[in-house]
Amino acid sequence: MMTPTYHIVPLADQGVLIDCGETIDIEVNRWIEAAALAVRAAGIAGVIGIVPTYRSLAIEYDSATITQRELTARLDALLAALSVGQRRSRRWRIPVVYGGEFGIDFDDFRRRHELSRDELIARHTAPDYRVFMIGFMPGFAYLGGLDPRLHTPRRDSPRTRTPAGSISVGGQQTAFASVEAPSGWHLLGRTPVRNFAVGRTPPILIEAGDCVRFDAIDGARFETLQQDRDWLPDWEWIESGEANP
């Protein structure tokens, strides 16, 4: 694939940002994912953390071990040699109860788009969504590939609390939340899946680059799954090119 245009800019003396600019693009996001894997694999001494996002990769470092000048030179060399190949990733099946008390904005949302209940569910469950990034809150997954018919500006006033497991839509994106959080997105439903759990190893299941498919379930099934402490969602390996958001 083509290497996107990127700039390496300082985050004070705390980090550098490999920035591809204002874009939500699957090819750019795949390049970011490949860059994150390459930087991690390089094991550069002094690198503390690597945070991939839609369009950038933040690399935190400790200047007691490596200077920003040295780090930037290492990254330039690494990125020049980067190739984005096919990569195996996981496709998760995430059960969701839509509407009612589980998705308090569902009815307003479907009326706004002039869709029946079944049509909205069909459109939201159809795509294989790509996890563009994990961010904001522990385990919060930003998903790309939302049906353009469902693109919806964020709410005028954000809610200060939304439940853990919320499935929501904001702008061109849909997302699923793992912990209770403030949100200005439209709440369509809820999943019993907790993408972040303190007692679990690893603590998150679904990572950036993975694929997510939603399955509609009813409230009774939700309660059953929610109470089963050992239950985890199904997943399967796919080639990264297969997901088609």
């Binding site: 003396d13 503390i48 996002t53 200077t67 920003q68 961010g135």
Partner: protein
Amino acid sequence: MSTAMGVPEPGAGVAFVVEAPGMMTTLQDAGRLGQGHLGLPPSGALDGMSLGQANALVGNAPKPDCQTGQPQEFGALEITLLGPRLRLSGGRCVVAVTGDAEVLVNGRRVETFRALALEAGDELHVRRVLSGARAYLAVGGGFASTPFLGSVSTLVRAGVGGFDGRALEAGDRLPLSDPAAGIDHAGRVGERHLPQREKRPVRVVLGPQSGAFSHAGITRFLTAEWTISTLADRMGYRLHGPELKSAAGHNIVSDALLTGSVQIPGDGRPIIAMHDRGTTGGYPKIATVIRADLARLGQMKPGDRLRFEAIEPAHAETLWRGRQRAFRRYLAGLAT
């Protein structure tokens, strides 16, 4: 608690009982670093210098974490403005409080920056923080708390770390790991180093989205006097001052945040991201605070005023290395 041999462990049963929790008291170490890709912020002490001093006074030298291999500070109680009243139960220990605080043992005023021996039944009361926003209470051998991803730091929002993943509440029992380890350090005294005494501007490096602002906007950011608003907590500080308008709009495609990232949301009032921040954010970031000035930022509270000064990254790195040398001198200078 006892070992397989049936011999009680040295620290078995020694604990602080929380009689009053204070305003916002949490266990914090140097933070859960490098987990941003999971959506987890670092958490950790807002004033890392004072945390390190408190630990040094009671003999808690940083040790490599068993999961990450990185050196980690012992967890200490981070006290915000009004502190807790604690009673020691089950044995002896040594404590030290750093920061500028009014501290009482059994009702009598004691010094901060000094390792104090406590006996079972003693009451330790950090009544209030006098200047700055925070004080740190370390205990020899540390508090018993299970690390999560290499850190005991509390992140209340996710219910992680510390004691049940939350701030202290009345009636809590805070078990100690190894109180015998600190006993020899009783009486140790350190210089009173307070980051809040520094009055120069808070230093930043411009970017990563300073290009979204006009030249006049950046000049205003760097020349204005800003006031920390009442919306100031471990997640971030909102500032009052002139409004800063972004020429390129107030939403960007979400991008990583660091502690010290200065975001400008739609209302034009800057938000400085602090240790419990989100890991990503969708507002343009005009600047990032340098590492050496984070501890001082951590001591700020609503009503405090500050200015910003832009410097180059290489200069910031030099300042950080100088800070670390000064801290090593501090450790070498501890007197018993």
